[in-house]
């Protein structure tokens, strides 16, 4: 693995720095916000409740706001998605590790609904997604997870020491 002879891209633009606690709180808020939206939207449809529907939209806005705060102008989106040539060898090694973990986690997350559906299909009392609205919520959850999980893992785990200044 060779180091890029050019100056790496992440250092070129000033990035917002978040503490470990802030980053972890934003990761929880992002995924928790979408999970809350799925639940509230399902309840809103079941009980025909406008208030629950609004609460679901608020949770979705919270999820988007957390994603923006976590990934916009912080190193993590770029780190998770930049071309290999703009990262140095350590950053590539860390990203490869996060991709490996994200892939395993995503495979497990994707497998859970499949296992559930295969069980629920023989049990009429268990809930199954039947409408376009229900299926699309699950599909969007998968799209959100696949797109953000590597960057979220980097943000969750990255611990640059305070002494790591440029001097």
């Amino acid at each position: 693995m060779s180091a890029n002879p050019k100056s790496p891209a992440p250092a070129a633009t000033p990035m917002r720095r978040l503490s470990l606690f802030e980053r972890r709180a934003l990761v929880v808020a992002m995924y928790g916000g979408y999970a809350a939206y799925m639940l509230l939207r399902g309840l809103a449809v079941s009980f025909d409740s406008g208030a629950l529907g609004l609460a679901g939209i608020a949770a979705l806005v919270g999820c988007a706001a957390a994603a923006w705060a976590l990934l916009y102008q912080t190193p993590y989106w770029n780190w998770g998605n930049a071309p290999d040539g703009s990262l140095d060898e350590r950053e590539l090694a860390v990203r490869n590790r996060s991709y490996r973990v994200a892939y395993s986690a995503y495979a497990a997350i994707t497998l859970l609904p499949v296992v559930y559906v295969s069980i629920a299909i023989d049990h009429p009392r268990l809930w199954l997604p039947r409408t376009y609205d229900e299926v699309s919520r699950i599909v969007w959850a998968m799209i959100l997870t696949s797109g953000t999980l590597p960057s979220a893992l980097l943000a969750w785990d990255d611990r640059p020491l305070e002494e790591d200044r440029e001097v």
Partner: protein, 82 residues
């Protein structure tokens, strides 16, 4: 773990992490990780650093911990006295 003398050489030459990082093509935080021993460099990066400091690679990197500067100075002084 690979031990190194990067921080010593950097201090001796009055270099910032950013200057060294730019010279060898890595992020300045990677220099911090190297200095703390939290990351082992590739051969390519080790040779780039040794070329930059104009020193043999084994003077900068070692699988064994380096002796402290004070013990080395004492040894040199004792050698001169004999």
């Amino acid at each position: 773990m690979i031990h190194n003398r990067i921080s010593l050489l950097r201090a001796e030459r009055g270099l910032s992490r950013k200057e060294l990082a730019d010279a060898v093509g890595v992020n300045f935080q990677t220099i911090g990780y190297l200095e703390r021993g939290d990351y082992n460099p590739s051969l390519d990066l080790a040779f780039k650093i040794s070329r930059y400091f104009n020193l043999p690679v084994e003077v900068i990197f070692s699988p064994e911990p380096f002796p402290s500067l004070s013990s080395q100075l004492r040894k040199i002084q004792e050698g001169e006295q004999k």
